[in-house]
Amino acid sequence: MTPSPLADLSAQTSELLSTIASLATLDELTEAEPRLTGKRSLLSTLQKSLGSLEPNARKDAGALLQEARREVQAAFEARRSTLAAAARAESLEADRLDLGDVVTNSVRWPVRAGHPGLVASTQRELEDVFVGMGFTVADGPEVESDWYNFEALNIPPAHPARGLWDTFYVDLGEPETVVLRTHTSPTQVHLMEEAVAKGSLPIHSVMPGRCFRRDTPDARHLATFHQIEGLVVDRGIAFADLAGVIETFTRAYFGPDIASRLRPAFFPFTEPSAEFEVTCTICRGEGCRTCSQTGWIELGGCGMLDPAVLSAVGIDGDEWSGFAFGFGIDRCAQMRHQIPDMRALIDNDTRFLEQFS
């Protein structure tokens, strides 16, 4: 019987393992790779010699050899990651800089103008108009529960009106209880609840913020967008006050030759509800393609707070009444700057961003 080609396998494996352990740098490791695990390595050569064995013996020997190769390969990869980590640690160490030692007076800072985001600066202008009219500004979270985003706003579960908003649901809690807010209206609910709890009515506030709708982006819409809403809850507030506030805002923001008008609409959280339109800013009311020859452009929705909303937050509708309105910040920016494709806003191309000041 000829001696098995694998007679020394165990000793050979040990030697290979100790060679691997002795590799000190990544360069050495790369250099040794063909010898240790490559096609011309010792174990590969042994593999070829198995051909001379009988089928049964070949099978057993093959299994043994396979095990040895696995072991060597694993040791090799382990060594590689150890050495890589060491190399990274070494280069990080060489790179170390105590930022507390930076002498700020000697930092060179090139002079170049920056550019605020279009949404942020539009939002600021809108806020300033409303602050001038006596409104405060309120913020709210972007992730909301169905109560704040829908139910307290008179949109019960499975109500067909929920179909008006394509909603992103967050994978938390019971199904469809946590959402990315589809409008800034939940902030109204928070404000009203808070005012009731603190006894601090009235409310005169605008609420800007980021909203989300599950809508494939196109030239006119992004799935992420920004709204600003207004909420007034006070004594003796009527539809005439809503119409007056919309008109004052329109002239203050768009200019004295731009007017507003209201037409009936439906929103679950307001009654009576209205859509508000402003004079087309392109043709100044003459009629053009942008406004479909009507001279008017739809800007947002508004209405008197629905009694169901007041009662959901515990406000006495006999004493208090109010209105709400809302519209798109991005849409205002789009109108003012004539942006043909809203997707430019999220491309972050500095050639686009550097146009805003």
Binding site: L99, G134, V143, E151, A308
Partner: protein
């Protein structure tokens, strides 16, 4: 909803032009989204008979066709080949202007003259068929010389595309729109033609009906129509449906659609021959039942849905053997469908519970014209009037049709129309103007409301069609909206309210503005990166960490809420690098999200039906992240930027402290935390971006140093964490300062800022301390460096003498020694 103007005019006199009507409808909240003209441009087109077809020498694509349109032979060159001698085809003679403005002129070609044009259906704007000429013999019995419009029974018409709001189910039909117009214009509203049942045969001798679950079905009427012949509808019905956007199918189906469009009542005809026991019952579907709907899909019924509160209630129609016939109000099954051989029909006209239909249709992803109407609410009183209209229409094509007497009429639970009290002053309180009671009453009555005037109150009962009108205070708002709508929103007054409370921004909002202004002044370009990202990007920084996930993302790489702004900014910067515009500082201010199981500060709030659940929401943290990507940027420029920002924010004592464990994504040995020394709070981090992150996101920029400043705005806005400088200031001494420079060899473990702060308090004479040089060299002891400070000494009382300066110098050196620093 598309409504032909001719249809509206059957209900109310409307001499107005379409554009005038558009203004009125818009002002009623019935917004006109489009106006189409049917049959426009076809006035000059006539019917011509093909008498001769000849080839033209030298032309293989066109032939010379001789036609007769009643005035003798006309020669026309024609490229179509789908016709033969004797066919009748449309001829546009010389001078005709086709839809789209194409004017027909005499033309010479290949030595022959073409005296007009033979047209395809598409050229006439009648359909998309462009395979050849429109062969009129296939659709009508044409006569030579007749106007095409007459031959096809087309009356030129205007079609208004009207958008009806979700709270106006009553207006989602021709009569409903007509009612609003009639009321606004103070004109009478006409009723449609209705049939009457035959008196001697009773319905219950033939058919049976019942409601098992009255809360799902408020009313079920079943009528029997006998002696039916299924055939095409008269052309005027077919044309109406086509103009309204529905395809004519057969007289029975068309009658059903016509009634739905005209009056708003969906009806469902069954072939009585295929309904066991001629019986229709309504019941709740049982778990395990399946139904194959007309669209060929097999649907599992009574299975709870994913939506909140959806317990899986389906309402079904069954026959006398309790076999399923259809999903009530949504879609029928195929077994009892009307076919060409149907002679007896069971006609269902019902009221189904809107919420049940809404949930069922959402759950099965099945919407139909019927379900859309039922889920908004069909007038429960309408059913039999709609059937009378149905029969009247069907009798146009089947005069011998019999409608059996006493249709079956079962009632379950239907909403009771509320009565709303408008007290004196309610209208003024709601609208800001008092309206004339006489006008108000007339307008409400025009809309079908019943109004009682008692003392100074109006008691207003809603018509059964107005399921949107609620009880109590909400109902008052509903009725006031109707009053305002008919009166006209534009005629209402405007007044600008004022109030004593001042407007303004919160401290947080002012801080945000200040931060943004400062960084923009420093050259930052503000970016807007996605809130929703991929698992892979999340794993780059936080492998294995629980994340906030979207259940129904638009794309799988937009399914995870961001936990950092850094990844998005590096990506955005990378795209600018590719465009050659990467020499820039990008910044973003926005929220990042942490899963409630991971954060110590989850947000608890109420949710679920009626807010009964307590939900744990993600922590939302507002951050400002700046990515310094200019060619010379690195950790030191990040420190430079921060020093300016910190100064402008008026922070009292925030130090840049090297951190051994910087956040993932930051360079492990070139990053630091921004620590408020008084509160101990971390306000943010700065340094460089980890080269591994740059390599993963922007492979082309490997090896490029990117500075980063990442600030926690929640911490910055919190004065207990971010200590502000005192409002009190000091006035500089009027005596000259003595300036000395001191360089110390200091262990690397001692922070330069800490040594500086200690030196500041070494003697009361110290006016200011500033670090001006850091020196490392092999000649210094291991793990140490030289820190050189510029120290200004001053007295408020007198000019410092040399010995005072020397003494102070000694004090400074002694104090430094106590921290292990030796004078160099």
């Amino acid at each position: 909803m598309k409504i032909p103007l001719s249809w509206l005019r059957e209900f109310v006199d409307l001499p107005e032009t379409p554009d005038e009507l558009r203004l009125i409808l818009d002002d009623l909240g019935l917004v006109v989204e489009g106006i189409d003209v049917v049959g426009a441009g076809l006035e000059d087109v006539v019917v011509a008979r093909v008498d001769e077809i000849r080839s033209i020498e030298g032309a293989d694509r066109v032939r010379l066709v001789t036609v007769d349109a009643g005035a003798g032979p006309v020669e026309i060159v024609c490229g179509a080949t789908n016709f033969e001698l004797g066919n009748h085809v449309p001829l546009a003679p010389i001078g005709a202007v086709l839809p789209g403005g194409f004017e027909i002129a005499r033309r010479q070609m290949r030595g022959v003259t073409s005296n007009g044009m033979l047209c395809s259906a598409r050229e006439l704007g009648l359909s998309d068929d462009h395979l050849g000429l429109m062969i009129l013999d296939q659709v009508t019995t044409p006569r030579v010389g007749e106007h095409l419009l007459d031959a096809l029974h087309i009356t030129p018409d205007v079609v208004l595309d009207i958008s009806v709001e979700g709270n106006r189910p009553d207006a989602w039909c021709v009569q409903g729109v007509a009612r609003d117009l009639a009321t606004r214009l103070a004109r009478p509203l006409r009723e449609p033609m209705l049939a009457t049942p035959v008196a001697d045969v009773m319905t219950d001798s033939f058919a049976h009906a019942g409601i098992d679950d009255p809360e799902l079905c408020g009313r079920l009427t079943v009528s029997v129509l006998r002696n039916l012949t299924v055939r095409p509808s008269p052309s005027w019905i077919a044309q109406r449906l086509q103009s309204a956007g529905m395809r004519p199918i057969s007289n029975v189906v068309d009658a059903s659609n016509y009634v739905m469009l005209e009056l708003g009542q969906p009806t469902h005809p069954y072939d009585a021959a295929n309904v066991a026991g001629h019986a229709l019952r309504v019941r709740r579907a049982r778990a395990g039942e399946t139904l194959e709907t007309l669209d060929g899909v097999v649907r599992e019924l009574a299975k709870a849905g994913r939506g909140l509160g959806d317990t899986g209630v389906d309402c079904v129609i069954v026959d006398g053997d309790d076999q399923l016939l259809g999903l009530a109000g949504i879609m029928g099954g195929s077994s009892s469908e009307i076919s060409a051989t149907t002679t007896d029909v069971l006609l269902e006209a019902a009221f189904f519970d809107p919420m049940t239909i809404a949930r069922s249709s959402k759950r099965h992803g099945l919407r139909s014209e019927a379900s859309n109407r039922f889920e908004r609410g069909v007038d429960p009183e309408l059913a039999l009037r709609a059937v009378a209209r149905f029969v009247n229409l069907l009798q146009e094509s089947v005069p011998e049709l019999q409608w059996l007497a006493n249709p079956l009429d079962h009632w379950g639970g239907v909403p009771t129309p509320p009565t709303v009290e408008l007290r004196a002053g309610d209208i003024e309180r709601g609208l800001g103007i008092e309206l004339d009671y006489g006008d108000v009453v007339a307008n409400l009555e025009g809309l079908g409301f019943h109004v009682d005037v008692r003392e100074s109150s109006l008691f207003v009962r809603a018509p059964s069609s107005r399921l949107d009108i609620r009880e109590g205070a909400a109902g008052r708002a509903d009725v006031i909206e109707e009053i305002a709508r008919i009166h006209g929103y534009r005629r209402l007054p405007r007044r600008t309210p004022t109030w004593p409370e001042p407007g303004g921004l919160t401290d947080r909002q002012r801080l945000r503005r200040l931060v943004r202004d400062v960084v923009v002044d420093l050259g930052v370009v503000e970016a807007w990166t996605p809130t929703l990202g991929s698992d892979a990007d999340f794993d780059l920084l936080s492998p294995g960490v629980e994340r906030v996930r979207i259940t129904n993302p638009l794309a799988s790489d937009e399914s995870v809420m961001r936990a950092t702004l850094l990844t998005g900014l590096v990506r955005a910067w990378g795209r600018n690098v590719e465009r050659g515009t990467g020499d820039v500082v990008l910044g973003e201010m926005g929220a990042v999200f942490t899963h409630p199981n991971v954060t110590e500060e989850p947000r608890e709030t109420k949710g679920g039906e009626s807010g009964a659940l307590t939900l744990r929401l993600p922590r939302e943290n507002e951050r400002l992240t700046l990515l310094l990507g200019r060619l010379d940027d690195d950790a030191t420029t990040a420190v430079g930027l921060w020093s300016v920002l910190s100064e402008r924010l008026g922070l009292a004592d925030v130090v840049v402290r090297a951190s051994e464990q910087p956040s993932p994504g930051l360079h492990p040995t070139r990053s630091a935390r921004l620590v408020d020394r008084q509160s101990g709070a971390t306000l943010g981090e700065l340094g460089e971006v980890d080269a591994e992150l740059v390599g993963a996101l922007v492979p082309s920029a490997v090896g490029r140093r990117l500075g980063v400043v990442d600030i926690d705005l929640d911490a910055l806005a919190d004065s207990s964490r971010a200590t502000r400088r005192s409002d009190f200031v000091s006035v500089p001494s009027r005596y000259p300062s003595a300036v000395i420079d001191l360089a110390f060899v200091v262990s690397s473990t001692v922070h330069a800022a800490d040594l500086g702060e200690a030196l500041r308090h070494a003697t009361p004479l110290v006016e200011s301390i500033s670090l001006f040089d850091v020196y490392r060299d092999a000649s210094l002891p291991a793990n140490s460096r030289s820190l050189a400070y510029n120290v200004r000494l001053v007295s408020l009382e007198h000019t410092l003498k040399d010995d005072e300066v020397s003494a102070a110098r000694e004090q400074l050196i002694t104090l430094a020694a106590s921290l292990g620093a030796t004078l160099r």
